[in-house]
């Protein structure tokens, strides 16, 4: 009958972690990696914003790859006998001032945008992640100096910097990619840095330091895998801006050169005929708008899912 009776002053503490809301709790946590990705995919599929954006984006990506099959005409074939024709059965979107088929040019124009913008975004993300990791992890003087320089750089409108640099470097697809990528680097680095500032205070970073990991290892192998979500969101947002910026640069005559079916270029050259042949501007502009909106929808959907 020996019951273990508390004979002394007793402290009985059923400790529990501060947050104990069941639904998001242990069950959500006990998923394997594959299940987590499946879960993420399911959540994305439930988001209407994401699905609509992704479908439009998918359409343009397929088009950028397959426009040679889809186009009804050679986009650069000049036809002096059929200039400034309105939309018809022969030319769905009409023809431009040189008699080129606008429908085929719009389809073909996706290729340049969807080459320049993702490449520029990738460059900007890469640079931004590197700068953000270094400044956020090491802090100190370097962080202060770099961040102030970035503040100063950001005081200029993005497009002005791009115009200045391209005027000096000369226009080429590569230069457009470089310029947009470089301009994005400080923007991305700020997002990355703020995520790093949170992660570096976590105890697993302290534990890594205690076992003697190098700074590089901690940044790349410990911190980076834990900030992929904000980076992914930032990348989609940047992609939208990159599309817009590359079109703007083309419009200003600092991007691709004329015979290219680039949308920005088309809007610029069609501007003169806006009164008599609005379709030359309208369709490339609509194409650009749908693409930018699609990317932004994807970004929004992703952001919502990631933040949940």
């Amino acid at each position: 009958m020996a019951i273990d009776r508390p004979d002394q002053a007793s402290v009985l503490t059923l400790h529990e972690p501060a947050s104990a809301m069941p639904p998001a709790g242990p069950l959500a946590a006990r998923l394997s990696r594959r299940e987590r990705y499946a879960e993420l995919a399911r959540a994305l599929m439930r988001s209407k914003t994401f699905v609509v954006g992704a479908l439009i984006l998918l359409f343009w990506i397929l088009d950028a790859m397959l426009w040679r099959v889809l186009a009804t005409d050679d986009p650069s074939a000049v036809d002096p006998t059929a200039t400034l024709r309105g939309p018809s059965g022969a030319h769905f979107f009409g023809t431009d001032d040189l008699g080129r088929d606008v429908f085929s040019r719009v389809l073909a124009g996706a290729e340049s945008v969807l080459t320049v913008a993702p490449a520029a975004t990738a460059l900007g993300i890469f640079g931004g992640v590197a700068v953000g990791l270094l400044t956020g992890y090491y802090r100190g003087l370097v962080d202060n100096v770099v961040m102030r320089v970035i503040d100063a750089a950001l005081a200029f409108p993005l497009i002005i910097i791009a115009v200045l640099v391209l005027a000096v470097l000369g226009r080429s697809t590569l230069n457009v990619v470089l310029v947009i990528g470089i301009v994005f680097t400080p923007l991305v680095s700020r997002t990355v840095r703020s995520a790093v500032l949170v992660e570096r205070e976590r105890e697993y970073v302290a534990a890594a330091k205690l076992r003697g990991e190098s700074g590089l290892y901690i940044m790349v192998a410990e911190i980076l895998p834990n900030i992929t979500a904000p980076i992914a969101v930032e990348a989609t947002i940047r992609l939208g801006y990159a599309i817009f910026t590359s079109a703007t640069l083309s419009f200003l005559g600092l991007g691709l050169r004329p015979p290219s079916p680039d949308w920005g270029l088309a809007v610029a050259s069609g501007r003169a005929f806006l009164q008599i042949a609005p379709w030359i501007v309208l369709f490339p502009a609509l194409a650009l708008a749908t693409l930018v909106i699609a990317v932004n929808l994807v970004a929004d959907g992703l952001k919502q899912v990631v933040e949940e």
Binding site: S10, L12, L14, H15, N226
Partner: protein, 674 residues
């Protein structure tokens, strides 16, 4: 329930599930309970057992994905679950009120305290602005806040945690509600503040007539505050009864196991092993045919696996959901609970800390977290470090382990001078001094599998080059912390809190350390897991002759584990010595206050509570003279305010920092205990 009384709250057959995609996960399973008018009912259980869900259901604050499948909650003659929204809005804050765990988040940070309390009166009582402010002031007086007039004009962030919780309680009681739901009201607070808040609730019970639903994971607090107690396990009420009877004669194996698995003040590692509960909670929403506890129960039989036990009446007002409740009192402590072999004492000083200072500099103000601390840690010894938040415990640990640089003072390790810079450069030093962190959720990188985490530790600390060597040592290491080989392939998120902490421990022990700093290693864990981790730490220490610096705010845990103890207050070490000497008079008045603040399960002997007046001063502006003088219950006068106290010794290597000499202090403190 006495015949004829109408309960204040009656919960009948309550069944709540959470919707998760297409599935419904059962969280609360056929819960029946009632709270009598003016009664305090305690609901206890470990995390994930459904306590908070019950509280939320009573207030009808359930999250949108919660589904009430059946049952009623009758309050004031009406079913709360079917009440109209407008009705409900009037009731909440008027007839029923709730106090949450974290007072900081239940107050609006952009509103002055006075306006916030006044809002309750204006909304529910239709008072004018001026009347409401006067009423708010009166209410603050009732919750015994010093200088209520001044507090009214403050913003919440300007108040201490204890003051914030008083304000929240004032708001909850403003309308004299019939039901007050307290959901872990003191969990985020320090021991001495917690004691204050509990005292307050106790006093207010005499002035207000509210029935109380008191939710806590702390059995000691519930034992003190409540008349009746219910124990929740996996969403089921498994035992219910009068507090005293339930805690002295538990009739459900789970209640008994809970009472046994925590170290009680007075238990020591060398005389008694802790008795952990084997296994773990069934997963959320699991369909269980028989008794929910059968898998972990020492007396479970075939019948338990397919026949769900009803709440058997075992005594008047005492029920236990166990088919074999008659046998519960005869359950012996589990075989593992035998005391470990006597430990060899090696002697010799491993770590010598001399006048260590750690100051954090920031623009504007310096904060001295550790202000001249000296102590020794001997070979193979556990040095316990206790103190409230802000006392500098963690800063001290981080300095010792080399995560931050010491500002001043000297640290010697194995007789050689040591600094953070040396620790960063010297692999041997890193290997020998490791740390176990408080929160296993953040101490392990969520993106790395256990195998990867341990491999890095073995590679860098264990100096193991080849993969095969690492692999062999990894299995050895994993088994030494009782991890299964299959756990190696999992990521931390797939592990329970206890398993995560085992991985963190394994990682710290990868290089055969000499000194391990344990920063609150069990305070984030549920009790049933806590016992197993503490046992593991004791085993590892004995096997490997490691020294620990063991930081905890839980005095019973420190007393169980530590050979010597240091008590910190505002960056000072105020009391150092062998565990027994520190826990018994004469000891520093602060130690005395800490000990008296422990919520006790010992209901027969009421212990005097030593109250600490006033808030904890900021370490940025420590008080002059003795740092404790602003709150000291044994304040002598000017000498305490003006002069730093000397170290006093009462022999046996026990020293404390106070102006009162040992004989005098002993007499005064023993007199207090009478």
């Amino acid at each position: 329930m006495a015949v004829g009384t109408v309960p204040a709250v009656q919960i009948e057959g309550l069944r709540i599930s959470y919707r998760r995609r297409t599935k419904l996960l059962s969280v609360i399973h056929d819960l029946d309970l009632h709270i009598n008018p003016g009664e305090a009912y305690g609901l206890v259980g470990e995390s994930g057992c459904g306590k908070t869900t019950v509280a939320m259901a009573v207030m009808r604050y359930l999250p949108p994905n919660a589904v009430v499948e059946s049952g009623r909650i009758v309050f004031g003659g009406e079913n709360v679950l079917t009440l109209s929204e407008s009705h409900l809005r009037r009731w909440r804050g008027d007839r029923m009120a709730m106090v949450y765990q974290d007072p900081g988040t239940s107050l609006n940070p952009s509103m002055r305290v006075g306006a916030q309390i006044a809002e309750v009166y204006r909304h529910h009582r239709g008072m004018s602005k001026h009347e409401a402010l006067t009423a708010a002031r009166d209410m603050l007086e009732k919750v015994r806040i010093t200088d209520p007039g001044r507090i009214l004009r403050r913003y919440p962030h300007e108040l201490s945690g204890g003051q914030q919780q008083r304000v929240v309680i004032a708001m909850a009681l403003a309308t004299d509600p019939d039901l007050l739901v307290l959901d872990e009201p003191t969990t985020g607070l320090d021991a001495t503040v917690e004691a204050e808040v509990l005292d307050l609730v106790e006093q207010l019970r005499n002035e207000f007539n509210a029935s109380i639903l008191f939710i806590s994971h702390n059995l000691g607090i519930v034992a003190r505050m409540c008349e009746r107690v219910g124990v929740l396990y996996a969403g089921r009420l498994i035992e219910e009864g009068p507090a005293e009877e339930l805690f002295t004669q538990p009739r459900h194996p789970y209640t008994l196991a809970l009472l046994r698995c925590v170290p009680r003040l007075g238990m020591r590692k060398d005389t008694q092993r802790l008795d952990p509960i084997p296994g773990s909670l069934p997963p959320l929403g699991a369909e269980i045919a028989g008794c929910v506890y059968a898998d972990r129960c020492p007396i479970a039989r075939e019948r338990c696996r397919h026949e769900s036990p009803p709440l058997y009446a075992v005594n008047e007002g005492h029920g236990a959901a166990c088919h074999y409740h008659v046998e519960v009192s005869a359950i012996p402590p589990s075989a593992e609970a035998t005391p470990p072999a006597a430990r060899p004492i090696e002697g010799g000083v491993l770590l010598k800390v001399d006048d260590l200072v750690k100051t954090y500099r920031s623009a504007g103000s310096d904060l001295t977290a550790v202000a001249g601390v000296s102590f020794d840690v001997r070979w193979g010894e556990v040095f316990g470090l206790v103190g409230e938040s802000g006392s500098g415990k963690t800063s001290l640990a981080k300095t010792l382990v080399g995560l931050v640089d010491a500002t001043d003072g000297r640290i010697e390790f194995e007789g050689a001078h040591m600094s953070a810079a040396k620790q960063r450069k010297n692999r041997e030093l890193r290997r020998k001094i490791q740390m176990i962190f408080q929160n296993p959720d953040t101490a392990l990188n969520p993106r790395h599998a256990v195998r990867g985490i341990l491999r890095r530790s073995l590679k860098l600390l264990g100096n193991l080059g080849s993969r095969r060597e690492q692999e062999e040592r990894m299995l050895e290491l994993a088994s030494s912390v009782r991890l299964q080989p299959r756990h190696l392939e999992l990521r931390p998120a797939a592990l329970s809190g206890g398993l995560k902490q085992r991985v963190a421990i394994a990682s710290a022990f990868a290089g055969m350390p000499r000194l391990v700093l344990c920063d609150e290693p069990v305070s984030a864990l549920d009790v049933s897991v806590q016992a197993a981790i503490l046992n593991l730490l004791v085993d590892l220490q004995l096997e490997r002759q490691v020294s620990y610096v063991f930081i905890s705010h839980d005095l019973a845990v420190v007393h169980y584990l530590a050979d010597r103890i240091g008590v910190m207050y505002l960056g000072w070490l105020v009391d150092v010595g062998p565990a027994e000497a520190v826990f018994n008079p004469p000891h520093h008045p602060y130690t005395e206050a800490l000990l008296s603040a422990i919520p006790s399960l010992d209901l027969d002997v009421p212990r005097p509570r030593i109250k600490l007046e006033g808030p904890l001063p900021s370490p940025a502006e420590p008080p002059s003279g003795c740092r404790f003088h602003t709150r000291c219950p044994r304040y002598l006068g000017d000498v305490c305010r003006d002069e730093e106290p000397p170290w006093q010794s009462d022999g046996d290597g026990h020293v404390y920092r106070c102006h009162i000499p040992p004989d005098e202090l002993r007499e005064a403190q023993l007199a207090e205990r009478e």
